[in-house]
Structures are given as C-alpha cells and as structure tokens.
C-alpha cells in the first residue's frame, strides 16, 4: 500500500478527455448554474457533512468572482457533533452566507414531534425541513445525495420534483435526457436538486484532496469515548447513550458520514490524513451507509420509504 495520490492520468485518451474529477466537477457546476438561471429562491442543504461541504465548494467555484446566489439551510437534529456546528458557523462567516436553521428540538419542545423510543432523530427531520421549505418559499433545494449511496437513490433524478408535502413519487419523476433539466413546478411544489448524483464516495474524497478542502476533524482518526450498539461505535453523550449494559471505551475512530449523533457510527481507523482516508476508502469492503447508518438498517426499503415522505 502506498499513500501517494497521483494526479496525472495515463491512458490512451486524447488530451481533450477530461479527467473523471474534472468531468464530475463540470457537470455539478452546470447544474448549479441551471438552477441559478431558472429558479427564484434556491437553497443549499448544509449539514456540515463532507458531501454538503463539497457542494458548497462547487457552488463557490461556479459563480466566482461573484458570491453564491443561494442561502444555506441546516436541519438541526439537536444531536450535533460540536466540531461540525463550529465548522458550519465558521464557513457561513467566512463566505458571508445566509444560514437558515430548521430545528428538530423546537418541534419536540412544542410537542409537534415526539422523541422516538430508540432516540434516533433522523426520521424526525422531514417535517421541520418541509415546513421550512414552505415557509421560506424555497423552490429549489440542493441536496448532497449520491446515487451510489443506496438502492433507492440509484433511481433518483438530478432534478427531483416534490409536491407541497415534499413527497417523492418515483412514478412521477421526469425522464432526464442529455443535460436538459426540466425544473417546471407548480406553486407550492419544489425541486430537489442533486449536483453530486454521479459522484461516488471515493470521488468525493479524491476531490476533497485535490481541492484542499477543509473538513470537520471528526472525519479523521481521533481518540473518542464510544460504546457499541448494533455493531457500530456510537459517541456517548447527552442524547441518550449509553444504556445499561453498554460500556464506554476509548478507541481510535473516524466518521465516514456525519449525521445525527444517535444513529451515526464511527469506524475503527488510523487514517488521520486525507491520503490515508482515501487509501482506506478504496480498500473498504463496506458501503458508507452500511457501515455507519443505523437508520438505513431498519429495513431493506428504509431509504425508499423516507424519500417518499420527503426526506433528503
């Protein structure tokens, strides 16, 4: 194994063939610019996770030297990693962006949403997200979803029409031909837009390395107090873990995805640099959702069901 990341492609292609990262970057920039040209109030879903960070990076490049013509929306589960919140706030300040927050905790405090017995808050995000979209009249909502993540996502469009309840109907999705995206929607409806549709987890990491993009430190190996639940290392904390019989231990771990603390697991890892992370991802024999998301393990169709209800 080696940790060198080469950047020059060798092959039989002509000098006009774009590298795969250049091709994916160009496609994503095209998508951002289409939305800027055709929609009134677009917003980028920004969780502070690596996919949303890459989305924001691409949006910044797409409109340079002008500022990004979109605001950011964070659906705050109330179970955030402090490192990620800190990253979010620094990023917003650095680029002079406007941040909207939809708070799950508010909905729980008001009694609109009830805490689930398992403590997981990911499924609770749909209502605050939908109501924020309606209240702010957002007509295009950028998400960092990738088709390689999960089976139900493999059939997602780049422009995904949602009704006023944010519901996804796989049979109502429009065929997408060439690079002609159709963003027409009725008042009250909106379009979820996925600029990273064609990226894989490895592409995202390679791009982060190439562009020198800073990430929250929890993506790199660090010592953390964790306990084991459903085969994953979860962080001990105020959100409810560990329960009786679950023991906390200190381990060298890192996160492959960043979501709600209650259902996002860390993996054992010594990868404390981007190069080591890429080597680890390339060698990994588990998908990132399979390895680190309890919410997707609920049933074979967990993601399909949540998408239909208006999830990301």
């Amino acid at each position: 194994m080696t940790t060198t990341v080469a950047t020059v492609s060798e092959g039989t292609d002509s000098p006009y063939a774009l590298s795969h990262l250049d091709a994916l970057e160009s496609e994503a920039v095209h998508i951002f610019r289409e939305v800027a040209g055709e929609f009134e109030r677009p917003v980028i879903l920004f969780s502070g996770g690596k996919d949303s960070i890459v989305m924001l990076h691409l949006a910044l490049k797409a409109f340079r030297p002008a500022s990004v013509p979109f605001s950011l929306l964070h659906v705050d589960t109330g179970h955030n990693f402090p490192e990620v919140l800190d990253y979010r706030d620094r990023t917003v300040a650095e680029h002079g962006l406007r941040l909207h927050v939809a708070s799950v905790q508010d909905y729980i405090d008001r009694g609109v949403l009830k805490e689930r017995p398992d403590g997981t808050r990911n499924p609770l995000q749909t209502l605050p997200l939908t109501e924020k979209i309606q209240a702010e009249k957002f007509d295009a909502v950028f998400g960092g979803g990738r088709r390689d993540e999960e089976k139900a996502r493999a059939k997602e469009r780049v422009f995904s029409l949602r009704d006023e309840f944010s519901q996804w109907d796989p049979r109502r999705q429009r065929p997408e031909l060439w690079n002609l995206y159709n963003g027409r929607h009725a008042p009250g409806e909106h379009v979820r837009v996925f600029p990273l549709s064609n990226w894989t987890e490895l592409d995202v990491w390679q791009y982060i390395a190439r562009e020198g993009i800073e990430l929250p430190q929890i993506y790199y190996a660090h010592e953390r107090e964790v306990f084991k639940r459903a085969g994953m290392w979860l962080t001990a904390g105020e959100w409810g873990g560990p329960k009786d019989g679950e023991t906390v231990e200190k381990r060298l771990v890192r996160y492959r995805t960043v979501g709600d603390m209650s259902c996002t697991g860390a993996v054992d890892s010594e990868a404390d640099t981007i190069e080591k992370v890429i080597v680890e991802i390339a060698a990994s024999r588990l998908t990132e959702r399979g390895a680190t998301r309890a919410d997707d393990k609920m049933s074979e169709a967990a993601m399909e069901d949540r998408k239909r209800e208006g999830y990301f």
């Binding site: 194994m1 080696t2 060198t4 990341v5 080469a6 950047t7 492609s9 092959g11 292609d13 002509s14 006009y16 063939a17 774009l18 795969h20 990262l21 091709a23 160009s26 920039v29 095209h30 610019r33 289409e34 800027a36 040209g37 490049k61 797409a62 409109f63 340079r64 030297p65 002008a66 088709r147 089976k151 139900a152 493999a154 059939k155 029409l161 796989p170 999705q173 065929p175 031909l177 060439w178 690079n179 002609l180 159709n182 027409r184 009725a186 894989t200 592409d203 390679q206 190439r210 890429i278 080597v279 390339a282 060698a283 990994s284 024999r285 588990l286 399979g290 074979e300 169709a301 399909e304």
Partner: protein, 444 residues
C-alpha cells in the same frame, strides 16, 4: 481484499455507457458480473443479495438482485426505470445507465442512451438477432451513440461455437452499419459463467478480441475537436458588482461542443452581435483555450447585451437560426402528443413557446417501416414532427452535435417532460466499413 495501488487513487477518465437487453438475455447478470468481478460490489451489498437469494430458495447469489432498486420492483420482479450504477477500475470510472427490458422500454433506453458514449446490446446466442435486437440497434443509431458493443451471451449454451457467434456478429454488424452506427464491436460471452466479461474465456480460444471490460476501459471517450462546431449556451451572467470586480461581466456555461480560444471572433445568437473572446475563466483559473465539456465563464471585449438562453459561437461557424424545426422525436409522457399541441421547447439553455405543426410519420423500430400521418404519438412512440417556435433558435443537426441538436418538449400546464427531440434526419447515411486494422483480426 483488494490491494490499493496508486493507480486506484489517481484521476482517470469517465465513460458513460448504457446496456440494452431484457432479463431473458441475461442483462442483469452481465451488469451484476461487471460490478462483482471488478470488485465494485461491497460486502454488505453482497450479503444482502445472498440473504435475498436464499430466502427465495436459490442456491447461488443471484447477481441480478444487485441492480434491483425499489421495493415495488423487487416485489414484482421488474425494473421500472433507468438506474445508474457506478464502478471503477484502475483505468477508468464508469457510469452505467441500466435500462429495463420490459415496461416503458423505449423511453428508458432513449433516456439512458442520450448521455451514453457506448451501448452494450445483448443477444442470446441461441436466438441470434431478433426483433428486439433490431429495435436496440435502431435506438442506438437514432441517438447517435458513438460506440456499440454486441455482446453475444449464453455462449456456454451453444457449446462455445465460433460459427454461431460469427453468424450473429455478421448479421448484426451489417444491420447496424446500414443504420449509420459508426462502430460495432462484437464479443462472445457467458455472463453466467463469466466468459469474456472481465476475464478472458478459457472456452473460446478462437476469439482474440477484448473482454467486455477491457473494451470499456480502452474505447476512446473524446473526439477530434477540430471537426466539431464550437458552441456555448449561456446559462448565467456573472456580475459581482463588488469593489474588487466593479466591471466584471462573464458569461457562464458548459461548452456543449468544440473549443474556444482567447482572441477568437464570436457571434451571439439569436441577436447576431459579434465580439472577441477577451478571456476564459475556468472555474477561477484563467486559460487560453477551453473545450467541451468544461464549465467556463467567457469574457468578451465588447459590452454587448447577452443573457441566459443565448448561444455563443465562433463567427466563422455560426448555425442558421430558424423557427421551423424538423426532428425525430421519442414521446416519453403518458398523455399523447398531437398535431396543434402547444408546448414549451427547451433547447440548450433557452425555453420558448412552440406548436406541433405536423406529425408526418411514426416509425416502427422493429422493421423501420413508416406510418404516415398517425395524428398523434403515444408513450414510447418514435416519429417525425414539424415544430414552429415562437422565437428563432440556433439549432444544429443532431448528427453534428448531440447537445445543441437536441431538445425536450414540456407541457406548459403541468410541467411534465413530453418528448425528446433530435433535429434533422433520423439515421446517418451508412458509411463504408472502415479498415479496422487494430481490431485483432475480427473483420466481418
């Protein structure tokens, strides 16, 4: 466990391709094997397939299950839509548009093929070229997919006989060439056993060509740009109006075809105003030349009125603008397309009102017969249409430029995508078969 090398981590090129064929031809098995044998299937995905196969009483994992997406499909054992698959080898990254063989077949294959640079068409070696094969070939020809692979599957069931393969390959290549398909590569395979999919077959010594994966890894993904008309549809005008950039005015877009260079004289369509390229901004980096499919921002010497929907072209190579478009279309919506239908037409970055003036014919893909004046086109129909647009459009022939020769029709009432259109003649005129000296002896 795979060993990681620097090659796996370096930047490679990207190939978008599509597969055509039904479950009966073994398409899902082929796709599953490409994913599995290229080690793109991860342990948790494979375990899920093993569990599902076992619960259905199957002994071996059914690789076709890797490509089933939605619960609705799994329950009914069908695929209802285009699914995109991703895999990589040290040489290339692949995006596979996996199109189902049964329901909404034409619509899905047109969708998948619209962005594909290569199509794999499967036939069952026992059945040879059948009606469906001819339909697949016709669609690949209509969509101007540059490379076609004929995968003659289930060779294990015809005793790996060379003459069975050669007969099918010859018949198909002749048919495809007649339709103007520029390149056909025929490969004898067994997706089930794995012959010539990723690994060369030990059962077919007589075949000296590439495996399917080897071909996918080496087929050229870019073209000679000197023959392409340069086109930049303007998506967005970038005007920072900041203290640092008070006068910056850039025209952002993805180069649809060809290349642009600084100093080049350009014309803006449909206005016809001219200027020179003063600078090219490649996502923050100034460059002298940029080419398809880079997303760029063009700076011009003169301050002329340009907005989203305009097309920037070299002045010496500008297309004519027209309000009357003749095209081959594939109707993709459930409601029919009729004569006098009022629609929106999206071409490049411009959307205009339009009216369907005539539907001169409908094309049957099985035998390429024309049915004059069908009155309407229903879902999955291919036909010729004449369209009048409310504003002049700078369209290219689809045979010259897949991006600026294509359009979609949109229902102005409910916003549904109705129809996919390709400007100009349906099929390329057949070219004489080229001398494929590098083709390892496979000439038909």
């Amino acid at each position: 466990m795979s060993t990681v090398t620097t090659e796996e981590l370096s930047e490679t090129t990207l190939l978008r391709f599509a597969t055509a064929g039904s479950v009966d031809d073994g398409k899902s098995t082929l796709v599953g094997r490409l994913l599995h044998d290229s080690k793109s299937v991860l342990t948790d995905q494979l375990e899920a397939v093993e569990r599902a196969s076992a619960s259905r009483g199957q002994e071996a994992p059914d690789l076709a299950l890797l490509t089933d997406g939605l619960r609705a499909e799994r329950e009914q054992g069908i695929t209802i839509d285009v699914a995109y698959r991703y895999f990589a080898t040290p040489l290339r990254r692949f995006i596979l548009a996996d199109t189902p063989g049964h329901v909404q077949y034409t619509r899905n294959m047109v969708t998948g093929a619209s962005t594909a640079e290569l199509t794999v068409i499967l036939v069952d070696a026992r059945n040879g070229v059948v009606e469906q094969t001819r339909r697949h070939a016709a669609l690949a020809a209509l969509l101007r997919v540059p490379h076609v692979v004929l995968a003659v599957n289930k060779m294990d069931l015809v005793d790996y006989e060379e003459k069975v393969f050669a007969g099918i390959a010859e018949e198909f290549t002749a048919y495809a060439t007649e339709l103007g398909v520029p390149e056909v590569t025929a490969i004898p395979i067994s997706a089930l056993v794995g012959d010539n999919v990723v690994e060369p077959s030990a059962n077919m010594d007589w075949y000296g060509g590439p495996t399917v994966l080897e071909h996918l890894e080496t087929v050229p993904v870019s073209h000679d740009l000197s023959h392409c008309h340069a086109r930049l549809p303007v998506q967005y005008v970038i005007r920072p109006r900041s203290a640092e950039h008070p006068d910056y005015r850039g025209y952002a877009g993805q180069i649809a075809a060809g290349s642009f260079h600084v100093g080049e004289e350009v014309t803006v369509l449909p206005s016809g105003r001219t200027s020179k390229v003063a600078g090219i901004d490649l996502l923050g980096e100034p460059v002298d030349v940029a080419w398809t499919t880079q997303s760029v921002t063009l700076l011009l010497e003169d301050d002329i009125d340009i907005s989203r929907g305009d097309l920037i072209v070299p002045s010496k190579d500008a297309p004519a603008t027209t309000q009357d478009i003749e095209a081959t279309v594939c109707h993709v919506a459930d409601a029919p397309l009729t004569v006098n239908h009022r629609v929106l037409l999206k071409h490049g970055t411009r959307t205009v009102k339009a009216i369907v003036k005539d539907i001169p014919s409908r094309l049957t893909l099985d035998d390429l017969s024309l049915h004059p004046h069908p009155g309407q086109l229903v879902a999955n129909d291919i036909g010729r249409v004449k369209i009048r647009t409310a504003e002049p459009l700078p369209v290219d022939s689809y045979s010259d430029s897949r991006r600026t020769g294509s359009f979609i029709l949109i229902d102005p009432n409910d916003g549904q995508t109705l129809t996919a259109g390709m400007v100009g003649e349906s099929f390329a005129s057949p070219e004489p078969v080229k001398d494929e000296a590098e083709d390892d002896g496979w000439d038909f």
